[in-house]
């Protein structure tokens, strides 16, 4: 084995190793087993492993996972969207564009699309701005600031389900918020946070914001560290107030981070499910009025009895296109912003 894989003496690498004083021949041979024979990397492209399959062996699990549970499901979704496959099996037949024509006439689909887009339109600007303000608040090293930073981060740690349970009881008709408002005589009847379809949607947005605040705060803290302190000092010497310094120094300084947060939260808003499931119930609000696209996909595509995986796949394609469109838009905005 050792002799078989020994390095040819003509290889530049071998000369190098042979010149090392004290290196025993056996050691060089052992080295040859491990390293690459032939020209050193960079000579004419890259040197190859003697056992060519070695890199493939090491990367195989990742490749398999990416192909079988990433690329294939996507292609399969495209394919399925032209069939009437059932989630629990059975014969599926080709139905052409039926699923897509059905989708265009489906008011529930449009409702889900509207909810998803509305979610993004409202959540993105707030999620870009609020965590930035919070990051500015905790940026300065005051006594106890570490505690505050960690505390603001805790909602990130709780699962959406737990947070949903907690909010459910905050927002219930006899929950904490309604009780307080009634005690303060601000309202006479309880606000129907959990039974009015619009209020459910807005409450869920609040929940998303609340849960994401700490996460993006940390994100912005890193970005704020790169804004030169001297700029702030110079500006305040010149008499610029906090608000002006925010718009003219902080915002330009963290612009890239803001674009990134906008993109991430935009894509995230199109994926919202748990918040609405927890606040609107398993039906997704009264009559399913608060379902987002993922919620709708789950309902129409994966219900064991009434589900139609073919139709669900068509809606999935719509969700993918929406996400893709948003990503491209964000990329374009970022590029324009840079130039």
């Amino acid at each position: 084995m050792a002799t078989q894989t020994a390095k040819p003496a003509s290889a530049p690498g071998a000369e190098h190793t042979a010149s090392v004083p004290g290196a025993a021949p056996s050691r060089i041979r052992r080295l040859g087993r491990a390293v690459l024979p032939g020209p050193a990397p960079g000579a004419n492209g890259a040197a190859l492993y003697r056992r060519w399959w070695l890199p493939w062996l090491w990367t195989a699990p990742a490749i398999v996972c990416a192909v079988v549970f990433g690329v294939f499901p996507f292609l399969n979704t495209l394919l399925l969207s032209f069939t009437d496959a059932k989630p629990l099996g059975g014969a599926a037949s080709f139905v052409g564009l039926d699923n897509y024509t059905r989708m265009l006439d489906d008011s529930d689909f449009w409702l889900a699309t509207r909810n998803s887009i509305l979610y993004a339109l409202i959540v993105v600007p707030l999620m870009v701005l609020l965590p930035l303000l919070l990051a500015i608040l905790v940026e300065k090293n005051l006594p106890g600031i570490g505690f505050f930073r960690s505390a603001f981060y805790t909602p990130v740690l709780a699962s959406s389900v737990v947070v949903g349970l907690s909010w459910q009881w905050l927002l219930a008709d006899d929950g904490l918020i309604n009780t307080w408002l009634e005690k303060a005589h601000l309202i006479r009847d309880a606000i129907p946070f959990l039974s009015d379809s619009w209020l459910i949607l807005f409450s869920a947005m609040g929940l998303t914001l609340w849960k994401g605040l700490g996460w993006y705060m940390i994100f912005y803290l890193a970005a704020l560290g790169n804004v030169p302190k001297e700029l702030h000092e110079a500006a305040s010497m010149d008499g610029a107030g906090a608000v002006r310094r925010f718009w003219h120094i902080t915002v330009p300084g963290v612009r890239q981070a803001m674009m990134l947060v906008g993109t991430l939260t935009g894509i995230g808003s199109l994926r919202v499910f748990t918040e609405l499931y927890m606040l609107g119930g398993p039906t997704g609000g009264p009559g399913g009025a608060d379902r987002t696209l993922p919620f709708y996909i789950k309902d129409v595509g994966l219900d064991p009895i009434t589900g139609n995986a073919g139709y669900g796949s068509a809606v999935s394609v719509a969700l993918f296109l929406l996400t893709l469109g948003l990503t491209l838009l964000a990329q374009r905005l970022t590029r324009e912003d840079e130039s």
């Binding site: 890199p55 996972c65 499901p73 979704t77 603001f152 709780a158 499910f273």
Partner: protein, 300 residues
């Protein structure tokens, strides 16, 4: 002699003064007060609901959790709800199921993302660009837009209502491979060269040189995987059917939809229990937690 001591104590106090700043050094008093008031306000909003949940779980049955007569603090704190949640709900089973998925996920993610990331950090083999493209491509599709097809695959594999089916689609994430690759790229080539001279084989270099130098990234992968597996909801909801296989988030969400039958204090106790493991992980690895957030930039 005495003068020397005097000067040294003088510098000592001066140094201490510099090391321990006084309140005045943090800014004008009015600004400070405003800052702390704002901090406390945000604290109330962010942790308030969670603390309220904790306090409610400690209340005895005689106390209102909400409504006009409810107070914030429990008058006679009791752990009754925690006993009850184990008696009334199969929480122990839920926890065991969640732990099963978490352990499988963390194990497979660590093993496979490090090996793949290691090989991808090497410049000297053909085909690594193709692997790279496949990995990036697999990240382009949001989970929600392929979950129908994923479920059909899991069904064909006979893994519906099986915890292995919950774990399988995410047994190694492309994002973690990229993260590990970046960490391994940062290892200086010279160190590897000298390890080669000492006769270290591929596996030895990986195990004793690369893995220890990338432990920060390994922690980030561990934390991210732990939290996403522990908190995951939509996919287990789709795959799992029977009570005995449910994960903790799934079990807790069912308490909500049938909440009339359950005591709110008990549900709160269940929520608190579910937060504890992540909280412990957070306290131990706080620094790397934040690191994980900033590495979120790689996610795009």
């Amino acid at each position: 002699m005495t003068t020397a001591t005097a000067t040294s104590t003088a510098t000592e106090t001066a140094r201490r003064r510099r090391l321990l700043p006084r309140w005045r050094d943090y800014g004008r008093p009015r600004e400070l007060v405003v800052r702390y008031l704002l901090l406390l306000f945000v604290l109330g909003i962010t942790v308030g609901p969670l603390v309220w949940q904790l306090l409610a779980s400690l209340k005895s049955t005689g106390e209102d959790v909400f409504g006009a007569n409810a107070s914030l603090f429990p008058h006679e704190p009791t752990l009754r709800a925690y006993r009850a949640v184990f008696d009334q709900v199969p929480v122990a089973t839920y926890i065991r199921n969640s732990m099963f998925v978490v352990v499988l996920s963390v194990g497979s993610q660590l093993l496979f993302s490090t090996t793949a990331g290691y090989m991808l950090s090497k410049p000297n083999w053909k085909g690594r660009k193709a692997v790279w493209v496949v990995l990036i491509a697999s990240m382009m599709f949001p989970f929600e837009s392929i979950m129908v097809s994923l479920f059909l695959s899991i069904r064909d594999l006979g893994l519906v209502d099986n915890l292995v089916g919950v774990w399988l689609p995410g047994f190694v994430g492309a994002i973690n491979v990229l993260l590990m690759r970046a960490a391994f790229m940062a290892v200086p080539r010279e160190i590897e060269d000298s390890a080669m001279l000492d006769g270290a084989g591929e596996w030895q270099r990986f195990r004793y040189l690369y893995l220890p130098s990338a432990w920060g990234a390994i922690l980030v992968v561990t934390i991210n995987t732990f939290i996403s597996a522990w908190d995951d909801f939509l996919w287990p909801l789709i795959v799992l059917r029977s009570e005995e296989h449910m994960t903790l988030t799934l079990g807790l969400s069912r308490l909500q939809s049938s909440s009339f039958g359950y005591d709110q204090r008990v549900v709160m106790a269940g929520s608190v229990i579910s937060v504890i493991p992540v909280l412990v992980l957070f306290v131990i690895t706080q620094r790397w937690f934040y690191k994980g957030v900033s590495s979120g930039a790689v996610k795009l």
